[in-house]
């Protein structure tokens, strides 16, 4: 296949990837977008086969390995519960990172296959790109592994901090730059291996001080890194599809972490420098003062809702933990049969990743035109009868509007307190992710429903 033809086809596949992301601008076009993505990938893989043109028995092995990886991937994709998406994404990122490292290693050992020169005599530009690709890939890998372990609960979510941590990290980063520099002048393979090892280490060190609850921001950041790594390798391989995709993924991750930080009203550095989860937990322990709360049971809740004419549902992380989305949907169906208007209010950072609640509600067959964003629905609370808060906490906390001392001050919140009555489904009075108390629990018009979210919703449905 001529170089021009394959370059054109790679361009087409890059454009298809752009269209894949563009499709996500609305649910209707999103499925078509995904299809574009798949076609783009097919083109890229086919063109690569044809332009290498080496149909030896190696080719058969490639197909076999592809099939092995593909089946594993497909298996995971079908088995994974929707609630485990944050872990899944973290796990997948680690694989992209590692793949980038492997490709860089292979190119370093056998540069001829990539047309980059001979071993020990690799083109300077390619060597730099290769080193960057390998280092960023390695950081992505080890960082994502830690994120995965923390999210899965295999590793404690508590931030691991020690003295001189930031200094050590800075030192390692500097050493990576120096290593790259020497690698380029000496072309020594030892330096290359050291570079990769040190990059693995720094990825690990950067992530451990970050609390488990901040992992979503970290995942997005690593997503961004994996994009830049891919782009770096793209420059080495002189491949347009990789360069375009790398840049897309790089921006996408950066924007998502920005959106999350903004939704929490924290700066990116505040998240990355770590230690947030630690404060949170200690604050959580301190809150021992006892104020009176009104608590009720499923019967009370059912009564309140039966007499309401409009109900707004506010789901949060607890709904995901309890896997209560299906039970919730059934409750809402029953309400609707009684001619009660129901809508869902989704806070931008409800749950543990952007769009988390939307996916879960979609899984439970909630039509997306009943689901509203914060800005769309926030004015409606004043006219609604009941706010049904299920497993959400921080995203309803009015302290964000009133107390400049609070860590979440300035974060936009859902104005549930404006409803005639507020129902809170959670297991205890314990605080949410940000570790701060929620004054709403103690309000006149609040009824606490202490139970697991799924059980409580099922009970309410029975009582309706």
């Amino acid at each position: 296949m001529s170089a021009n033809l394959s370059a054109t086809l790679y361009l087409i596949s890059g454009v298809l990837f752009i269209l894949a992301l563009r499709g996500l601008s609305s649910p209707e076009t999103s499925r078509q977008g995904n299809l574009f993505g798949i076609i783009g990938m097919l083109i890229a893989v086919t063109v690569t086969f044809l332009s290498v043109g080496n149909f030896t028995s190696g080719f058969v092995y490639v197909l076999i390995f592809l099939a092995i990886g593909g089946s594993i991937g497909a298996f995971i994709a079908y088995k994974i519960p929707m609630t485990a998406m944050p872990e899944l994404v973290a796990g997948f990122h680690s694989l992209v990172g590692l793949a980038a490292v492997f490709v860089a290693i292979s190119a370093f050992i056998n540069p001829e296959a990539f047309g980059l020169g001979t071993p020990g005599n690799i083109k300077l530009a390619s060597l730099v790109e290769m080193a960057i690709g390998a280092a960023v890939g390695a950081i992505t890998f080890s960082g994502s592994v830690i994120a995965f372990l923390k999210l899965q609960g295999i590793m404690s979510g508590a931030p691991i901090t020690f003295k001189g941590q930031h200094a050590l990290n800075a030192l390692i980063l500097v050493s990576i730059i120096i290593l790259t520099f020497y690698l380029c002048s000496t072309q020594s393979s030892n330096l290359f291996w050291i570079l990769i090892a040190v990059s693995f280490l720094i990825g690990f060190l950067i992530i451990i001080p970050i609390g488990g609850a901040d992992m979503p921001v970290v995942i997005s950041m690593l997503n961004s890194y994996s994009g830049w790594a891919a782009a770096g390798i793209g420059f080495t391989l002189e491949n347009t599809a990789l360069i375009i995709t790398g840049a897309l993924v790089g921006s996408s991750g950066a924007i998502l972490s920005y959106i999350m930080c903004k939704g929490m009203n924290r700066s990116f550095f505040n998240v990355i420098l770590g230690g947030f989860g630690a404060t949170a937990e200690s604050t959580g322990d301190k809150k021992t003062e006892q104020r009176p709360v009104k608590s009720g049971n499923a019967d009370d809740a059912a009564f309140l809702m039966k007499n309401a004419s409009s109900v707004i549902i506010v789901p949060g992380y607890g709904m995901a933990v309890a896997q209560a989305q299906h039970a919730l949907r059934e409750m809402v169906d029953t309400l609707k049969k009684n001619d009660i208007k129901v809508s869902y209010a989704i806070h931008p950072v409800a749950g543990r990743m952007p769009g988390h609640m939307n996916v879960l509600l979609a899984e439970a067959n909630v039509p997306y035109d009943e689901v509203f964003e914060l800005e769309e629905i926030n004015n409606d609370f004043a006219n609604a009868d009941v706010a049904f808060v299920i497993g959400a906490n921080d995203v309803t906390n009015p302290v964000a509007k009133t107390d400049p001392q609070s860590p979440i001050y300035g974060m936009p919140v859902l104005d549930v307190e404006k409803c005639k009555s507020v129902l809170f489904v959670k297991r205890s009075l314990s605080p949410g992710y940000a570790g701060i108390d929620n004054d709403l629990f103690y309000k006149e018009n609040t009824l606490m429903l202490f139970a697991d979210a799924k059980k409580m919703t099922e009970d309410i449905t029975k009582n309706l």
Binding site: T48, I76, F92, N110, I233, L248, S252
Partner: protein, 102 residues
């Protein structure tokens, strides 16, 4: 007076960053989770490099010290490609509009 292809690639890279910026901002927030999984899938186009690396051997030595890394990378990338696109498809299939007749 030939222009180094690197300059062109750099142009492509920079322009793509702009596109990424805009295209991602235009994604509706309710699809942010599928966005994460689909970007994951497309970033596995790194498999292009993996294939070149894997096929760098010849009929006698299929698994050389360098091609072996390519084969490993193929597995990893393939997991991502299939996993990423399929899980996205699974998610997107769930986003439905309210039926009119309801």
């Amino acid at each position: 007076m030939e222009i180094d292809p690197f300059i062109f690639r750099l142009s492509i890279f920079i322009l793509s960053i702009f596109i990424g910026y805009y295209v991602v901002w235009s994604v509706t927030p309710s699809l942010h989770t599928p966005l994460m999984s689909v970007t994951n899938a497309i970033s596995s186009v790194i498999i292009v490099g993996a294939i070149i690396a894997a096929l760098s051997g010849n009929e006698e030595v299929i698994f050389s010290s360098s091609s072996i890394y390519g084969f490993l990378a193929i597995i990893l990338a393939a997991v991502n490609i299939f996993g990423g696109f399929l899980v996205t498809q699974r998610m997107l299939a769930m986003y439905k509009k309210k039926k009119k007749d309801k």
